[in-house]
């Protein structure tokens, strides 16, 4: 019964270290990243690119290595933003890993462990971005990459409620939010905020033009703050909506919100404790969403209370003032 939830068994086979019959030093390859192809002896080599970001210099060097080792001269952008070099002969693993190592490029992972985080562009250069998703993805990759878990554990960072990094489909996802506050004396009643709000959370008073805010409709995107010409709408605080238990695959599940406005500096702790809880409660081959269904969300929330209390309850509504 539980086997129904184990995905990818037949298609993504991690390299069997003993069965290769070659003198290959696999010490560095323990977390996988080598995925067997249909073609005899050929593997996909998945690189580790947190947030899908690469320096141009590194990309040029990767291109040279890919050109040398891919028997077909092709790469593929994986669904989780990492570059994959296709058609690599397993007998050359040692050499390709050594060459990648020289340019500071690591190989990614597959199997039951914390995977490379994905992320959108974030606040560094995307005008909608509220959180530095790239910085967060890099931090999580540094701290948690390859940590063993009962099944795969995917994380992602979206910088705003548009949620391009699909935190609702992640085992553990973080989506940027901002709490807007309105400072009446600065307001000129120009009505731009009501125009800018795509959620109808702000309507303009017909007489004064000043905003009437509906906390139930606000999704914390910050469009009002960016649009306001007089800085009357301001950011009270930034943080992450934290979601857990999502997945895609054969039996998709939507993640549930477990914390609102978790600050940046608590993200590592949230992941640390969640992985601890998952390892203590999850069955082998069971995604955390199914563990939560089996064990109950309350047990998890109780365990996470010391971390999640730094944010707000998932049902938090912005007062707007």
């Amino acid at each position: 019964m539980a086997d129904r939830f184990i995905e990818d068994k037949s298609t993504k086979v991690a390299v069997n270290l003993e069965g290769m019959g070659e003198k290959v030093d696999f010490n560095d390859l323990k977390s996988g990243g080598f995925i067997k192809q249909r073609q005899k002896d050929l593997f996909v080599v998945r690189l580790r690119c947190p947030g899908g970001r690469l320096s141009t210099k590194k990309l040029v060097e990767i291109a040279k290595i890919a050109d040398k080792y891919s028997k077909k001269g092709v790469v593929h952008f994986s669904f989780r933003q990492s570059l994959e070099i296709l058609y690599v002969d397993y007998k050359e693993f040692n050499n390709i890993v050594a060459e990648l190592e020289k340019i500071g490029q690591k190989v990614a992972s597959c199997g039951p462990r914390v995977r490379v985080p994905t992320a959108c562009g974030g606040c560094e250069y995307n005008p909608n971005g509220l959180t530095d998703t790239q910085k967060m993805a890099e931090m999580v990759d540094q701290k948690f990459f390859g940590t063993p878990t009962p099944h795969k554990f995917k994380t992602s960072f979206s910088g705003c409620p548009i949620d391009c990094a699909r935190t609702k489909e992640m085992d553990f996802g973080f989506q940027g939010v901002v709490e807007p506050v309105w400072d009446e004396p600065l307001c000129t009643g120009c009505t731009i905020c009501a125009q800018a709000c795509k959620e109808d959370a702000i309507v303009s008073d017909p007489d004064s033009g000043k905003p009437i805010f509906d906390p139930n409709k606000c999704i914390f995107c910050g469009d009002c703050i960016r649009a306001c010409p007089t800085e009357s709408w301001k950011a009270k605080r930034y943080g992450h909506t934290v979601r857990i238990g999502g997945k895609h695959g054969r039996h998709p599940m939507e993640a549930v919100e477990v914390c609102q406005f978790l600050p940046d500096e608590k993200v590592a702790e949230a992941i640390q404790k969640t992985v601890e809880w998952y390892n203590a409660n999850g069955k082998r081959g069971e995604r955390i969403g199914n563990t939560l269904k089996r064990v109950g969300l309350k047990a998890y929330l109780d365990y996470m209370e010391p971390v999640f209390k730094s944010g707000s309850h998932p049902s938090f509504k912005a007062p707007g003032k």
Partner: protein, 79 residues
């Protein structure tokens, strides 16, 4: 409130995003710091996006008037 004196005028009614913003930007580039551009833009997508982008470029929106016919009149001070 006394009338804010303007130095240039741009009517961008019927001009789509992001061309309306690009035209605003080009106009502002020909102007001196502190000068004021009067801008007419449509309701809907343009008013949702153009003021945000103008702010991000470091200019100041000093006046906003909503006209009954479904457009906005903005005054922008070059930053």
């Amino acid at each position: 409130m006394s009338e804010i004196k303007t130095d240039a005028f741009l009517d961008l009614r019927g001009v789509m995003c992001p061309i309306n913003f690009v035209k605003t930007k080009l106009k502002l580039e020909t102007m001196g710091e502190g000068e004021v551009l009067e801008l007419v833009i449509d309701d809907g997508e343009p008013i949702q996006n153009v003021p945000k982008s103008i702010k991000e470029e470091g200019h100041k929106i000093v006046e906003v008037k909503k006209e009954k016919e479904g457009f906005f009149r903005l005054k922008i001070q070059k930053g």
